[in-house]
């Protein structure tokens, strides 16, 4: 079987068109492309760009908080920094990154030639891109035309009535609402596309219970996106009606309600965090089995758990609002619904551990990131449980403990998992392997930096440090913790630098990867690296969850056991 050969792909690294074209044509090719792979790459590059931007903002935050009574930036600038940091990381980094992965991988994994709606796909990307540019334009344009205000500065959840005309003159709030309105449509388009692709574009034999778990999780994420992004869009429309046409939705002086904004935001906001984390699960679900040399443990349970998370997560939003004075029964209800999420997520964590159990773990860089993802997620989930116990949350709410909790998920789990994904699929995308040595440096530095920052940020939270403070007093006893956290931040910065270097260097000089460098099992590895425009010369037909396993072990296929 050594030369089991398939005509399902082709190795065609330099299409003539590209090789001969001028730079202008090359650029033209990228802006007019409707190819899901190119759009996926664009998404990821865009997201990485904003990771740098949002990271730079985080560094400014960390420098400012390094010492008590620091004056590195003014309070106004600080407020812009954390607002833009949060907004950027969630909307311009997190979501595009996951849609980038989805775009590139879902069609390949299900054996399709493209997304269901290739042109909509392009539209979605460009809406996201232009929306992000519009948001950042506020740094210059927000000030220039109307005097007051610049970049948005009232926190990423823009609580009313601080966002009404009375308290936020200028256009900062409008920039936030309108540019995210634009990206919102892009996101919706991408979600529709992914769902339709997974449902309607599967190759022969690819039943729903055979698609890779990654596709399942992206299906879940996209479904959640459909019902979660749209409430935000609606709320933004209301906010703009208030601000431009004098409506009173959130205008407390005319009987409007500040609380209802909070509800609307978190009806979006909580599912949003699962939108971000589910693809991270998906990436782990691909990488952990391959590097453990075992199939994912409990596929069906994983699918059920993901679907369960989607539904439960729609009913827990008010755990961000335990302190707004809901009735005790409501507090109890949201405590319960929040804690229940631990059950399906627990299934996932256990299944990952069980997948590794008894395997042959090979710790290449992708696996390093994926394996630590599991612990980080475990820990952050447990701090989440602490927050969901509402009496304790009355203390912890809006403190640095919350900051630590969600960075543990957002950085420790999501960024780690996405980095794992980048290391894992980079050879597929570029045809070249990423440098292992640099990768290990990146991993260890980032790990150390991450733990220095976010482990220690739990403590000032317990010591009563609220978030959104541009400075604090020395006597509060928060200084040393913040110092440690800042140092950790700089280490993360350094590590990210190595990563960027690794990307550039390996993209140009990395070792040839070949179609299947990791000895993996899903369809994307059955075509050349990088895949041709049409993905598969012949439409693949599959008979199990691991088509490439079947090929590699023809005498011992999965088909008999599923």
């Amino acid at each position: 079987m050594a030369d089991a050969s398939l005509p399902i792909g082709s190795l065609d690294l330099t299409p003539e068109a590209l090789a001969e074209g001028t730079f202008r044509e090359y650029l033209h090719g990228w802006v007019t492309t409707v190819d899901h792979k190119r759009l996926g790459i664009l998404y990821v590059l865009y997201a990485l760009f904003f990771l740098v931007v949002g990271g730079a903002e985080a560094m400014i935050i960390r420098v400012q908080l390094m010492y008590p009574d620091n004056h590195f930036v003014s309070p106004e600038v600080y407020n812009r920094m954390f607002t833009m940091h949060g907004t950027t990381m969630v909307f311009l980094m997190g979501m595009p990154l996951l849609f980038g992965f989805a775009n590139y991988l879902v069609p390949l994994m299900i054996g399709a030639r493209d997304m269901a709606f290739p042109r909509l796909n392009a539209l979605s990307f460009w809406l996201t891109a232009f929306g992000g540019i519009l948001l950042y334009y506020s740094f210059i344009g927000g000030f220039g035309l109307y005097g007051q205000g610049s970049a948005p500065d009232v926190g990423w959840f823009e609580y009313a009535p601080l966002t009404t005309r009375t308290y936020s003159q200028g256009h900062a709030v409008d920039f936030w609402a309108l540019s995210l309105f634009v990206t919102g449509w892009g996101t919706l388009g991408a979600a529709i596309n992914i769902i339709t692709t997974t449902i309607s574009m599967r190759c022969k034999g690819m039943t729903m219970m055979r698609i890779p778990l990654f596709c399942w999780l992206l299906l879940c994420t996209s479904a959640l996106t459909l019902v979660a992004i749209t409430p935000l869009t609606a709320a933004q429309v209301m906010l703009e009606l208030d601000r431009y046409l004098g409506a009173h939705f959130f205008d407390t002086q005319a009987g409007g309600s500040a609380l209802i904004w909070a509800h609307f935001f978190w009806i979006f906001g909580h599912p949003e965090v699962y939108i971000l984390v589910l693809p991270a699960f998906g990436v782990a679900n691909e990488i952990i089995p391959v590097f453990s040399r075992k199939p994912a443990f409990g596929y069906t349970a994983m699918v059920a758990a993901s679907v369960g998370i989607v539904f439960i997560s729609l009913g827990v939003w008010a755990h961000h609002m335990f302190t707004v004075g809901m009735t005790s029964a409501a507090n109890a209800f949201f405590t319960l619904s929040t804690m229940i999420i631990a059950v399906p997520t627990g299934i996932k964590v256990f299944n990952w551990i069980a997948t590794m159990w008894g395997g042959k773990l090979r710790f290449a860089t992708p696996m390093l990131f994926a394996a630590t993802f599991v612990v980080h997620f475990l820990l952050s989930g447990l701090t989440g449980i602490m927050l969901s116990a509402s009496p304790w949350d009355w203390q912890l709410h809006n403190s640095y403990f919350v900051i630590a909790h969600f960075h543990y998920v957002l950085v420790g789990a999501i960024v780690f998992s996405m980095l794992a994904g980048i290391y894992y699929w980079f050879p597929k995308v570029t045809g070249r392997l990423m440098d292992e040595k640099l990768g290990k440096w990146h991993f260890w530095l980032f790990l150390i930096g991450f733990h220095l920052t976010f482990d220690f940020l739990h403590v000032p939270g317990i010591l009563g440090m609220p978030r959104w403070v541009y400075t604090y007093e020395a006597s509060r006893g928060w200084a040393s913790w913040n110092m440690i956290a800042s140092v950790g931040g700089f280490i993360q910065f350094l590590a990210s630098g190595i990563f960027v270097w690794n990307l550039l260097y390996s993209g140009l000089h990395g070792a040839e990867a070949g179609p299947d460098p990791w000895d993996a099992w899903t369809l994307e590895w059955a075509t050349s690296s990088p895949p041709p425009e049409y993905n598969f010369a012949v439409e693949p037909v599959v008979a199990s969850r691991r088509p490439l396993w079947d090929l590699k072990h023809p005498s011992d296929t999965d088909t008999q056991y599923e």
């Binding site: 398939l6 399902i8 030639r113 344009g141 920039f175 040399r293 159990w357 010369a537």
Partner: protein, 311 residues
């Protein structure tokens, strides 16, 4: 060759909305030289134009209406162009397929097995599938739940002269606030309350089912002494935990509970449930397997008679 059957080439029936239709003859599996061309959607600038238009339309609100007007124009242009891109026929380009053989093979040729799989239901890997049934646990839970009612009620009747006493304690457990049962008097505890009866029943049913299911799945993992483990050790353990935690969970209940009698009821539950579970056939099968395999983490391979797969 199985390979070819499995990834057999096929002709697309246009199910992909014209985005990826394979033209030409059925592809020959062994013919790497085939030079088909594939239709892919043609690159187009209209999406980016429409996106820019929409963004400018919105940006105009923030800056100057002229920009909005420009945006609307671009948007309309983009939409019309897009429309003509797909109607009446989708524009596409032909990509010539340049086939190169890709060999998919692994250096890892053989697959390790653990022995003794045949008994685990004949599966290579789904440990317990077919043999294990949650129903057993359910049965155990129900049996245990019914059995433990008797000592509990007996305790109420004998020690407190009211069968409602234990019911009220249990029913008041999570719900002291909801049932208005804060700081109950002895009178209260002995009287009949509909609400606590309801809550007690719910709590009892749910917890017995859950623990029963747990027994059903865990006892076969430790099959040596089911009655000692399920009947004695487990109830002891959770009673201990409850004893420590109850003052926090529900101080009222912990103040009124009589622990020896409580423990007795738990033993009755544990022994009954453990006994029911240990009679199941799956339990008996599992006995002969090593622990890690019982857990389902490891092994449980099909012991295929011939050595063919162990190349």
């Amino acid at each position: 060759m199985s390979t070819q059957e499995q990834l057999a080439p096929s002709r697309s029936e246009g199910a992909h909305g014209g985005t990826g239709v394979v033209h030409g003859d059925p592809v020959q599996t062994h013919a790497p030289a085939h030079t088909d061309s594939i239709h892919l959607p043609r690159p187009t600038a209209y999406p980016i134009i429409a996106a820019l238009g929409f963004t400018l339309l919105v940006a105009g609100i923030l800056t100057h209406y002229v920009i909005s007007i420009l945006g609307v124009c671009l948007l309309a242009y983009g939409c019309v162009g897009w429309f003509r891109e797909v109607l009446p026929h989708e524009m596409h380009e032909n990509i010539t397929v340049r086939v190169q053989e890709i060999s998919i093979a692994s250096a890892r040729k053989s697959v390790g097995r653990l022995p003794g799989g045949a008994e685990s239901g004949g599966q290579r890997a789904h440990v317990g599938v077919g043999a294990f049934s949650p129903l057993v646990g359910l049965k155990g839970g129900v049996a245990g739940g019914i059995a433990m009612i008797f000592p509990a009620l007996a305790y109420g009747l004998i020690a407190q002269h009211s069968i409602w006493y234990p019911v009220n304690l249990l029913g008041g457990a999570g719900v002291s606030g909801m049932t208005g049962f804060g700081n109950p008097t002895m009178q209260d505890l002995r009287a009949f309350h509909m609400a606590t009866l309801g809550f007690a029943t719910i709590i009892h049913v749910i917890s017995c089912t859950l623990i029963g299911l747990l027994y059903g799945s865990i006892l076969p993992l430790m099959p040596k002494h089911p009655i000692i483990l399920g009947g004695i050790i487990a109830p002891l353990a959770w009673t201990g935990i409850l004893f420590a935690a109850l003052p926090t969970i529900n101080p009222e209940m912990s103040a009124h509970i009589s622990w020896p009698d409580f423990l007795l009821a738990q033993f009755v539950f544990g022994i009954t449930a453990g006994w029911v579970v240990s009679r199941s056939s799956y339990y008996r099968t599992a006995k002969s397997l090593p622990f890690a395999m019982r857990l389902g983490f490891e092994g449980g391979g099909v012991g295929r008679e011939d050595g063919e797969d162990h190349r």
